[in-house]
């Protein structure tokens, strides 16, 4: 793609870019403007009396950030994190958090009309946390509403971390 085309895409109102990552066979996307960085998994410090999906806290160049296991958050088993696993660092509502995922796969530029609402059923994740679905050739990307997800967890565990 030429630079001119790339700029044209970036400048078109009505398109959005998403960083996509995988959890097993599923692919999820998050608004690229929220992504601060992507780093490899490193051991975290567990926080007491917090849900399992909150894996602990990590030192990110001097700030302490919580790391969430997205698979466990959605009812799956805890991810057996290895050096090959990836932490996506996001800025969500004034906080910096990390998501433990299997791998980062792609950056997608999509037109707004390509983002479809989630169907009412057949989805393991609570509807509230799905911002939409992107249908790309031979694959589907689930867009998560991280802000809603974190706000919900905060309400559910007011005495613990997010």
């Amino acid at each position: 793609m030429s630079t001119a085309t790339a700029e044209k895409i970036a400048l078109t109102a009505g398109t959005q870019q998403f960083l996509t990552y995988t959890l097993g066979a599923e692919e999820y996307g998050v608004d690229i403007m929220m992504v601060r960085e992507v780093k490899g998994w490193a051991d975290v410090t567990r926080l007491p009396n917090t849900p399992d999906y909150l894996r602990g806290v990590l030192n990110l160049r001097g700030i302490v950030i919580p790391i969430f296991d997205l698979r466990a958050r959605f009812g799956g088993p805890l991810t057996e994190a290895t050096e090959k696993h990836v932490v996506v660092i996001l800025a969500v509502g004034g906080r910096t958090i990390g998501l433990l995922v299997d791998a980062v796969s792609d950056i997608l530029t999509v037109e707004n009309e390509e983002i479809k609402p989630a169907p009412e059923s057949d989805i393991s994740i609570d509807q509230r946390f799905i911002a939409g679905l992107i249908a790309a050739p031979e694959r589907m990307v689930v867009l998560l509403d991280m802000a809603a997800l974190l706000a919900h967890d905060l309400e559910k565990h007011p005495n613990t971390s997010l």
Binding site: V44, T45, T160
Partner: protein, 113 residues
């Protein structure tokens, strides 16, 4: 160490009886040393209150800069903050007053609160 009626433990320290709390029980940490005779008791005080905290092992003593945990995560009962150790790992700092408060509250109630 002696047990008293309701199952809580006290420790005779130079003629004074101090309440003893198992840190692993307060924090729900599996795999910790549960036999106090195999563990260590750290005497701590906050204000006028003294207590013994049962821990597995002492790692070291150092001066640290306290970082807020609440900046990105939320408050956790019994933890006052965090610090970053020389090797880059995060270490949690205990809130002794908070731990004493937790000790007076059964765990179920605490988690439901």
């Amino acid at each position: 160490m002696k047990r008293i009626a309701d199952g809580s433990a006290v420790l005779n320290v130079r003629g004074e009886f101090l309440p003893v709390q198992y840190l692993h029980a307060l924090f729900g940490i599996p795999g910790a040393v549960t036999d106090a005779s195999q563990a260590l008791v750290v005497l701590v005080e906050a204000g006028a209150q003294q207590m013994g905290l049962v821990v597995d092992e002492l790692v070291g003593q150092q001066q640290v800069v306290i970082k807020s945990l609440e900046e990105n995560a939320d408050r956790i009962e019994g933890i006052s903050g965090a610090t970053i150790l020389g090797d880059g790992k995060v270490s949690l700092i205990l809130d002794i007053t908070g731990l004493a408060r937790m000790a007076h509250q059964p765990q179920k109630e605490r988690l439901a609160a």
